[in-house]
């Protein structure tokens, strides 16, 4: 397994943000993680890369148990570039004072690679994510949203990671750009990279994910092959999600059915 999370608990003060979440992503596999705002998707991702310290559970990255890692050991592992995280907001995750190229090569420079070789790699990556080479000398503020997003993807891929966590990678993109981005992620999957694809929108995940995990109020309520989740979901919350994505079925669930599902969710209550 490229990435394995088991029984992960995360607390923010008194808030129990993640409860016993378990998830695994194999090499060449894409797992979609869906859930509404505040359900704990980003918390799970941040715990995997060590930006959030879990209160219980285990995280294994590329076969290495990182649960107890701190400071120096985490840094050493991160420097190998095995796991990369593409943040949700491309503008905020790029330093406004660094040119596109400086941002893309940063992970390599952190590894101590020579600047010239790193710049060479940046041009290769730019071509791979269909980013015009002329844009490399620009600042992020001069780029469009889609271009910035490709910059953050290029930065993540420059270390040839085995696991890439994509946090809402297509939410900020317009329809045409979104299709191209999804095409690109499919190619990436084909090259053997494990992808954890986080989204609030089942529609954008269903087309690319092999398996889907549904996060509801900090708990993974359902995991299964994408087809099963879309066609034969068991948990009422998943059914509500499927019903709310009209593109996934010939006819969307009607209003009465959605009300019914919401009522059912109320009666079984949250994990609280």
């Amino acid at each position: 397994m490229s990435l394995e999370v088991s029984n992960l608990d995360v607390h923010y003060g008194r808030t129990h943000a993640l409860r016993g979440a378990s998830l695994s992503v194999a090499a060449g596999e894409t797992v979609g993680l869906i859930g509404e705002t505040g359900s704990g998707k980003s918390t799970l991702a941040r715990a995997v890369v060590g930006l959030v310290r879990p209160s219980a559970g285990r995280v294994t990255v590329a076969g290495e148990d990182v649960t107890g890692y701190r400071g120096r050991r985490w840094r050493a592992l991160r420097r190998r570039g095995l796991v990369q995280y593409v943040f949700q907001d491309p503008l905020r995750s790029l330093d406004p004072d660094l040119t596109v190229e400086e941002s893309i090569v940063e992970p390599l420079l952190i590894q101590g690679r020579p600047r010239r070789a790193a710049a060479e790699r940046a041009r290769e990556l730019a071509a791979r994510v269909h980013l015009d080479e002329a844009l490399l000398s620009r600042l992020p503020g001069e780029l469009s949203g889609g271009q910035r997003q490709r910059v953050t993807v290029a930065r993540a891929l420059i270390t040839e990671p085995r696991v890439v966590i994509l946090d809402e990678p297509v939410s900020a993109l317009d329809a045409a750009t979104r299709v191209r981005a999804l095409e690109f992620f499919k190619q990436l999957r084909a090259s053997g990279t494990a992808l954890l694809f986080i989204s609030h929108d089942l529609g954008s995940v269903a087309g690319i994910a092999d398996r889907i995990a549904v996060l509801y109020q900090g708990e993974i309520v359902e995991t299964g092959p994408a087809r099963t989740i879309v066609n034969a979901a068991e948990h009422p919350y998943t059914r509500l999600l499927v019903g709310s994505a009209p593109t996934l079925r010939s006819a969307a669930a009607d209003r009465a059915e959605r009300e019914e599902l919401r009522a059912l969710l109320q009666t079984i209550g949250g994990p609280a």
Partner: protein, 287 residues
């Protein structure tokens, strides 16, 4: 940054005045037409071709005394600013990264220093360490350092939690890397503003101390000292304090003007600001 400051009229005026003052500090003692220490029988004379700014109560040439005294004032002011910079900025940035204990201690220290009246404190220190501008300015520098501490800390805090810093951390960056690559550029512009401001404050403090006769042995001339001696003879020469006052005022004003100019050209973030200007001009091409 300097080039952009020079594009502003206010920046040009400020740098012009400060350049002139710096020139006086270097060459003033050589330029002085007469010995600033030697008295003549011609006491409290009005301005004339022999004494362009008149003479003081011992018949010493005021222009020569002001020129000769500029070095002390400038060095003192610069010393205050640089000491405050070094003492303030480093812990300011580190307070964000060195854990809660360090943060708490430095914050309380900064609060304590702000609460102390520095002029009185400087007087006390010269009594303890001996009368001299360097000692007094060293203490004053430490006492105004909380300004730099807070400015550096605020700028660092705003960057430290940003996603691009998190992205660097996920890529394995150390604290040193983050500070060098991301924090430093954002901290510099507000620090430059604070530096210009503090230099102005430094001039006021040096002048105040020397006005009180602290920091230099009496015959040695200073701007504040000249002002003090002129004030004693106000009834004979009511115009006399104008020259040293104007010199001090112009210098402090130029420092503040420079601070404003730097603030105007840098705004929030260094290169990013230039960048938005370009977009506003429509010269930036975005697909």
């Amino acid at each position: 940054m300097i080039r952009r400051v020079l594009r502003l009229t206010s920046g040009r005026i400020a740098i012009g005045i400060l350049g002139f003052i710096a020139f006086l500090a270097v060459f003033g003692p050589i330029l002085a037409p007469q010995d600033p220490l030697e008295g003549t029988t011609d006491i409290l004379a009005n301005p004339s071709s022999a004494h362009l700014l008149g003479t003081d109560y011992l018949g010493r040439d005021v222009l020569s005394r002001l020129l000769d005294g500029s070095r002390v004032s400038v060095l003192g002011a610069v010393q205050v600013a640089l000491i405050a910079l070094v003492v303030g900025v480093v812990p300011g940035i580190l307070s964000v990264y060195f854990g809660r204990a360090f943060e708490w201690v430095t914050l309380r220290l900064a609060d304590t220093l702000v609460a102390l009246p520095f002029l009185v404190f400087a007087v006390a220190v010269t009594a303890l360490l001996g009368n001299g501008i360097p000692q007094a300015m060293f203490v004053v520098g430490i006492m105004v350092s909380p300004l730099f501490y807070r400015v550096a800390r605020a700028a660092t805090l705003s960057v430290a939690r940003s996603q691009y810093v998190e992205a660097a951390i996920v890529a394995g960056a150390s604290v040193g890397w983050v500070v060098r690559k991301h924090v430093w550029v954002k901290v510099l512009p507000p620090i430059a503003v604070a530096l210009a401001n503090t230099t102005g404050v430094g001039f006021v403090i040096v002048s105040s101390l020397t006005f009180l006769g602290i920091g230099v042995q009496p015959p040695a001339p200073t701007w504040g000292g000249v002002l003090a001696s002129e004030l004693g003879y106000l009834s004979f020469q009511p115009w006399a304090p104008l020259a040293p006052t104007a010199l001090i005022m112009a210098t402090v004003w130029a420092c503040n003007l420079l601070a404003d100019a730097i603030r105007d050209v840098t705004g929030q973030a260094g290169r990013a600001l230039l960048n938005t200007r370009k977009v506003a001009d429509g010269s930036a091409v975005t697909a």
